[in-house]
C-alpha cells in the first residue's frame, strides 16, 4: 500500500463495501481514475461507477470530499435547474442537498415555473458527511488519499483523433503509478493556484489545504501543449454568529413547505419548523471609504486577471457602482454552527481592514472574524479544446470537469463532473461517447457554451443562456433526462427509472383525461363557479384548456370531476404547469428540431480550415480554426459565421444520428463489437431491487 496513504474511515463506514473497497485499492489498474474530490470529482466518480466502470477517486484529503468551499448554499435561479438535472441523471447533489438543507426556498415563485429556482442553505458538515458516505459505500468505486504528480502518456492511437494518449497517473512522493485509459481531472482552483490577502500571496487553491498540482500544471501546459488562461475568484470572511446583532437586520424566512431538490425524495431531512432563517443587511458609505483606503494594500484587486462580473468582491462592486447601498446576506453555516457567512462581502484586503470594513455595517458593529476572506487566482484550461463529452480533443482518454474548465459554482461543476464521468466510463467500457443537446437540458447548454465559445470570465449558469427555457424547466428535468439516462446513457438506476416512468405515465394519462372532458363555456361556469372564461367562445372547451386559465387549479377541476381526475391529484402542480406551457413549447418545437438537426451534423476535428478548397473568407476560416466547432450547429452559433459559410461547410459534415459529435469520433474509431456492458450492470441492479422489494 505504498502507492497512496490508506484511507481512514470512520467506524460506521466499515461495512462489507468498505472491505471490498479496500481490496480494490490494491489494484494498480482502473477503468476510470478521477483526480479531485470536489463537486465535479465526486459526481464524476459516482457517475463513472454507475455506468459500470471500476473507478478510483484520488483526493488529497478524504475529510474534504464534498466540502462547500465558499457559500453554504445550493441551487438558485438557473443553478437550481442544474441540480435538478444532475439529480434526474441519478447524481448525488440533489439528494445531498435534501439531506443537508436547513433553509429551503423556491426563488422566483412569482415569475413563472420555467424560472423557478430551487435553493437551500446547507449545513456544511452534514453535506460532506452525506457525500462521503455515498461514495465510500458505492459499488465499483475506490477512494484513496494522495496527490497526483504527473500523467502517464503514450503514443496516440492513430485510429482516433488526438496527438497524445493517457495511460495512467503517477502519484507524488514516490507513490507509484496507477494505470487507466480514462482519466478525469477535476482539480478546481489548484492548477497554479495562488491565494491573495492584502499584499501577501501564497501558493494554493483553498485556504488550509496544501498547494498541489504543480506537476500536473507542467504536464498540461508544457508536455501536452494545452492552452490555459487565468481567472480569479474570492470568498468572504466567516463571522462569529454571537457577535452579530441580528436585531438590526431584515429577517428572511424559508418556505413553510420545503420542496426537495431530488425527484426521489418526498420530503427534506430538515423538518419545516426546524429550518433556520437568513438575514439581510446593507453596506454603508463607511464601507466604501474603507474599500478606497485599502486599495494600496490590496494586490488582488490590481491584478489584470479576469474576475466574474457577477458575484464580484465588495471592492469591485464599490469601484464599479460607487455611492450605492449593496445587499449583504447573513447566511447560517449549519444547524449547530457558530459561524455566519456574509454573502456579498467577498474581499481580499488585509484582515485588519476587513474587520474595520465589516464594523462599518450597523449589525456587525461588534463582529469578530473567524477566518478572513481571501482571493484565489488559478489557471483554467481553455474549454474550446474539449469535445462536447468533455474529453480533450488532443489527448485520448483525458477528461476535464469543473472549475478547471473556467466555470464557477458547485452546480456547474457537478453537472460537468457527472457528464465527464458518464463518458469516461463509457469510453473505458468501449461504448461510444454521448453529448447532451441544448434543446434538452441546461447541462447541454453549459457544455455547449464552454466548448463552443470558450470563457472570458468564470462561467456561471443563468436561465437567460438557455434559448429553450420554457421547455427546460426544473419541474420536468426527470421527464427530460431520466429515461434517456437509463435507456441510452446507462447512468440511472432501475428504481429511479421506474419512478420516472410511473410519473410520466401518470401525467400522460391525466392530460388525456383532461383533454377528454369537453364542455361549453356556459357549462364550465356552472361547474366551476365564476371565472374569467370568455363569453363569446362558442366551441367546446377541454379541461386542458380550462386549466390554462389563471384562476383554475387542477385541484379545482378534480373536485368537479372526482371520478376522472382524483387519481392524479399527486401531480396537481406539475399538471397545471404542463397545461400552461405546452402551447408555448409547441411553438418552439420547430426551432428545437432545426437546432437538433444541425447538432447532428458533425464536423471532422482534423479539418484544416485554412486549406479547405471552398470559398470561405479568411475571417471565417480564422473563426472556424480558432473555435473548431464539433458540429454544424455549434458553427452556426459562432459570432461572425455567415449563412453562406454554413452552406459551404455542409459539404464536409458527416451525417449521423441524433446523439451527435460522438459519431464523428466513432467514425474514425470504428464501432466496437462489445455492446452495452452498462446494461448488464443495470440488470444486476434490477435484480437487487427486486429482492429488496420482495
Amino acid at each position: 500500500m505504498s502507492l497512496a496513504r490508506r484511507l481512514l474511515v470512520r467506524q460506521h463506514f466499515l461495512s462489507d463495501c468498505f472491505v471490498r473497497a479496500a481490496s480494490n485499492a490494491a489494484r494498480l489498474k482502473y477503468d476510470v481514475v478521477v483526480v479531485g474530490g470536489g463537486h465535479a470529482g465526486t459526481e464524476a466518480a459516482a457517475a463513472a461507477a454507475r455506468t459500470g466502470a471500476e473507478t478510483l477517486l484520488i483526493t488529497q484529503k478524504i475529510q474534504t470530499i464534498g466540502a462547500l468551499s465558499c457559500n453554504p448554499s445550493l441551487g438558485g435561479v438557473g443553478k437550481g435547474q442544474l441540480v435538478r438535472e444532475v439529480d434526474a441523471l441519478d447524481g448525488l447533489m440533489g439528494r445531498a442537498g435534501d439531506r443537508a438543507g436547513i433553509h429551503f426556498s423556491i426563488l422566483n415563485r412569482s415569475k413563472g415555473p420555467a424560472v423557478w429556482g430551487p435553493r437551500a442553505q446547507i449545513d456544511r458538515g452534514c453535506y460532506r458527511e452525506f457525500i462521503q458516505s455515498e461514495l465510500l459505500n458505492m459499488p465499483r468505486l475506490t477512494v484513496i488519499e494522495g496527490s497526483v504528480e504527473d500523467l502517464l502518456l503514450s503514443a496516440a492511437d492513430p485510429e482516433q483523433p488526438g496527438k497524445h494518449k493517457v495511460t495512467g497517473v503517477r502519484m507524488a512522493n514516490g507513490g507509484g503509478e496507477i494505470l487507466s485509459g480514462s482519466i478525469i481531472l477535476t482539480t478546481g482552483t489548484f492548477l497554479s493556484g495562488s491565494l491573495f490577502m492584502g499584499q501577501t500571496t501564497s501558493p494554493g487553491g483553498r485556504m488550509g489545504d496544501p498547494p498541489s498540482c504543480a506537476g500536473l500544471s507542467h504536464c498540461l501546459r508544457e508536455v501536452l501543449g494545452l492552452k490555459v488562461g487565468r481567472l480569479r475568484t474570492g470568498t468572504p470572511p466567516r463571522l462569529v454568529k454571537d457577535t452579530v446583532d441580528f436585531s438590526l437586520t431584515e429577517l428572511h424566512l424559508p418556505d413553510s413547505k420545503p420542496v426537495p431538490f431530488s425527484f426521489v425524495n418526498k420530503h427534506t431531512q430538515c423538518k419545516p419548523e426546524e429550518q433556520l432563517p437568513c438575514h439581510l443587511t446593507y453596506t454603508t458609505p463607511g464601507v466604501d471609504k474603507v474599500v478606497r483606503e485599502s486599495l494600496n494594500v490590496n494586490s488582488h484587486i490590481h491584478q489584470d486577471t479576469r474576475g466574474p462580473r457577477y458575484c464580484p468582491s465588495i471592492e469591485s462592486r464599490v469601484l464599479r457602482f460607487p455611492g450605492r447601498q449593496h445587499q449583504v446576506w447573513l447566511e447560517p453555516e449549519g444547524l449547530t454552527s457558530d459561524l455566519v457567512y456574509p454573502q456579498g462581502l467577498s474581499m481580499t484586503m488585509p484582515p485588519e481592514l476587513q474587520l474595520r470594513l465589516l464594523r462599518e455595517i450597523p449589525a456587525l458593529r461588534r463582529v469578530e472574524i473567524r477566518m478572513a476572506g481571501y482571493g484565489v487566482q488559478y489557471d483554467f484550461v481553455c474549454p474550446t479544446q474539449l469535445f462536447p463529452w468533455l474529453q480533450m480533443k488532443n489527448v485520448q482518454g483525458l477528461f476535464l470537469a469543473g472549475q478547471i474548465n473556467g466555470t464557477t459554482g458547485y452546480e456547474e461543476a457537478a453537472a460537468q463532473g457527472l457528464w465527464a464521468g458518464v463518458n469516461a466510463g463509457r469510453i473505458a467500457l468501449s461504448l461510444p461517447p454521448m453529448s447532451l443537446s441544448r434543446t434538452e437540458s441546461y447541462i447541454g447548454v453549459l457544455i455547449d457554451d464552454l466548448v463552443g465559445r470558450g470563457v472570458t470570465e468564470p462561467y456561471r449558469m443563468f436561465t437567460s443562456r438557455a434559448e429553450f427555457r420554457t421547455a427546460l424547466r426544473p419541474d420536468n428535468a426527470d421527464l427530460r433526462l431520466t429515461p434517456r439516462g437509463f435507456e441510452e446513457v446507462g447512468c440511472v438506476s432501475w428504481q429511479r427509472y421506474q419512478e420516472a416512468v410511473r410519473v410520466s405515465r401518470g401525467l400522460g394519462e391525466a392530460l388525456s383525461a383532461l383533454q377528454s372532458i369537453t364542455l361549453s363555456s356556459f357549462q364550465w361556469r356552472e361547474k366551476l363557479g365564476h371565472f374569467s372564461i370568455s363569453e363569446t367562445k362558442s366551441t367546446l372547451i377541454s379541461g386542458k384548456e380550462v386549466l390554462q386559465y389563471k384562476d383554475v387549479s387542477f385541484d379545482l377541476l378534480a373536485s368537479a370531476f372526482p371520478d376522472i381526475l382524483s387519481p392524479y391529484l399527486e401531480f396537481s402542480e406539475r399538471l397545471k404547469i404542463e397545461a400552461v406551457y405546452q402551447p408555448h413549447c409547441e411553438k418552439q418545437r420547430q426551432e428545437m428540431e432545426r437546432m437538433r438537426k444541425e447538432e447532428s451534423l458533425a464536423l471532422p476535428q482534423d479539418i484544416d480550415y485554412f486549406s479547405l478548397p471552398v470559398s470561405l473568407s479568411d475571417e471565417v476560416r480564422e473563426i472556424l480554426d480558432r473555435a473548431r466547432p464539433s458540429t454544424l450547429g455549434a458553427a452556426t452559433r459562432l459570432p461572425g459565421i455567415t449563412p453562406a459559410a454554413i452552406i459551404h461547410l455542409l459539404r464536409f459534415v458527416t451525417k449521423v444520428g441524433v446523439t451527435t459529435g460522438e459519431a464523428a469520433y466513432m467514425q474514425v474509431r470504428g464501432p466496437k463489437p462489445d455492446c452495452w456492458r452498462g446494461a448488464s450492470v443495470h440488470e444486476r441492479d434490477r435484480e437487487k431491487a427486486t429482492v429488496v422489494q420482495s
Binding site: 438558485g76 435561479v77 438557473g78 422566483n108 415569475k111 413563472g112 420555467a114 424560472v115 462580473r309 457577477y310 458575484c311 464580484p312 462592486r317 450605492r324 449593496h326 445587499q327 446576506w329 454573502q343 456579498g344 443537446s437 443563468f462 436561465t463 437567460s464 443562456r465 434559448e467 427555457r469 420554457t470 421547455a471 420536468n476 421527464l479 427530460r480 429515461p483 441510452e488 416512468v501 410520466s504 405515465r505 401525467l507 400522460g508 394519462e509 392530460l511 400552461v580 405546452q582 413549447c585 409547441e586 418545437r589 428540431e593 437538433r596 471552398v614 470559398s615 452559433r637 459570432p639 455567415t642 449563412p643 453562406a644 452552406i647 459551404h648 455542409l650 459539404r651 441524433v658 446523439t659
Partner: protein
Amino acid sequence: MFFVTGWRSALLINVTRLCKSASSEDTIFALSSGQGRCGVAVVRVSGPASVDALRSMAGLTRRLPAPRTALLRRLLHPHSKELLDRGLVLWFPGPHSFTGEDSVEFHIHGGPAVINGILQALGSLPRLRPAEAGEFTRRAFHAGKLDLTEVEGMGDLIHAETEAQRRQALRQMAGDLGQLYNDWSLQLKQSLAHVEAFIDFSEGDLIEDGVLYEVDVAVSQLRVEVEKHLSDERKGERLRSGVQVVIAGSTNVGKSSLFNILCQRPAAIVSPVAGTTRDVVETPLDIGGFPVLLSDTAGLRDTCDCVEREGVHRARQTVEQADLTLVVIDTAQLPQDLLMVPGLLSRYLKMVLPNRKDEQCLLVLNKRDLLPKSHIAVIQRVLQQNPGLPPLSILSCHNKEGLEDFLTLLQDRIKTLCGDPLASSPSLTQTRHRTHLQKCVDALAQYYQYRDTDLALAAEGLRSGLTSLGRITGKVGAEEILDVIFRDFCIGK
C-alpha cells in the same frame, strides 16, 4: 413502454429523437431565378402548405395537376382574386422534389411588378413565409437530396444572394430606415436584458420592480411604433420606374428636404445655400403601393452660373414630362396681406408650370413652423374662396407637421393617375422585412399577455420579438444580453 413514449412526445420532451414528420416545418417561398429583369421568373414554394398555395393561387379547387407536369393557369391573388399573371405551375409532391418536401413552382413573367405581386400574394397565405438565405439548400441537404458536390455550387449562389443583401442592408443602414430598425433592435435588447436581469438576479440583488415598469412603457411604445410603421403605406424605395412625380419651385424653398422625407433617406444634399441642387435627382419610390419615380430639381431662377443654368433648363424639361408636379413654395415668400395669397400662388404656378393642368399638380407650402398658427387658418379660408387653384398642403419638412395630410392627398392623386391595381408591389426585401416586423409585433403582444402571471413566458415574447427583428438587423446573442445586464446592474449574489 408505450405510455412513456406517447406521453413524452405529447409533452415535446422527446428531445432525443428526431421527429420524422416534415409537417412541423414552415412552408417557405422565394424567387429562385436571379433578381432583376428577366424574361421568365421562377418562384419556388416548399413545405407542407405548398399544395394549399398552389390551389389558391392557380384556382385549382378540385384536381391537382399531374406531378412534374407544366400546366398553364391564370394566377390570382388568393384574397382579392385579382389577376396577377398567366404562367406555368408545376406540382412536385414530396419526396420527389428538390427539397424532398411537397413543392410548387410558378413560372411567371419576369417583370418586377409581376414577381412582387406573386410573392406578396404568397406571403398573405397562412403558414407561408419568405425563405431565409440558403434555406432551400439546407432543406434539400437534410432530406438527402443534394449531391455534396452540388452544395458548393449552391453555396456560391447563396453567397451572391447574401452579398447582395449585405450591400442592400448597407445602403439601408445609411438611411433612416436602417437607423429605425437598429434603434428598435437596441431598445428591445435593452428591455429584454432588464427583464432577464429581473428574472435571474432580482432575488438577492437590488433590482427593483421599477425596472419592469420601464420595460412596460418601452415595449408598448415600440409596439405602437412598429405597428404604425407597418400600416404606413409609404413602403420605401422600389425597384422599377412608375408614375413620374417632380418636385419643383424656386430656390431654397425646401424641395430637397421634401424629397428626402418622401424617400426616407438623405438622397439629395440639403443646405441653406440657394442653388444647392443643380441637376435632376431621381429615385424610384413606392407610395401607397404605387410605383413612383420621384425627381428633385434645381430651383428655378435666372442665374449667370452656367452649370446652374443647365440645371434649371433640365428642371423645366422634367416638369414638362411629369405626370404630377409638386410645386413647393416657402412661407417666407407669402405677402403680408394674406388676402393676396391666391394671387401670389397663381403667379408662382405660372412661373413654375407655364402650361399647367390642375390635375397635374399639387401645391406645397413649406416651413409651416415659421408661420403663426392663426395665419394658417386664414390662408385656408382665403383659398376656399378661390376654387381656381390646385389643392394646397401646408407642412413643415423640419418638424413634419402637416405631412400626414399631404401624403394622403398625394396618394389619392397618384392612385387616380395610376389606376393600375397590379402595380401594388413592395420590393422583395420589404416583403421579408414586413413578415419579420409583423412577427415582432405579434410576439410583443405576448409580453403583455403574461406580464403579471408568468414573467418567463412574457420574456419569451420579447425574446422572439428580438429574434424576428434580428433577422433584419443581425442576431442578438445571449452574451450581448448579459453584457447589458452587467452594464446596467450591480449583480452581487
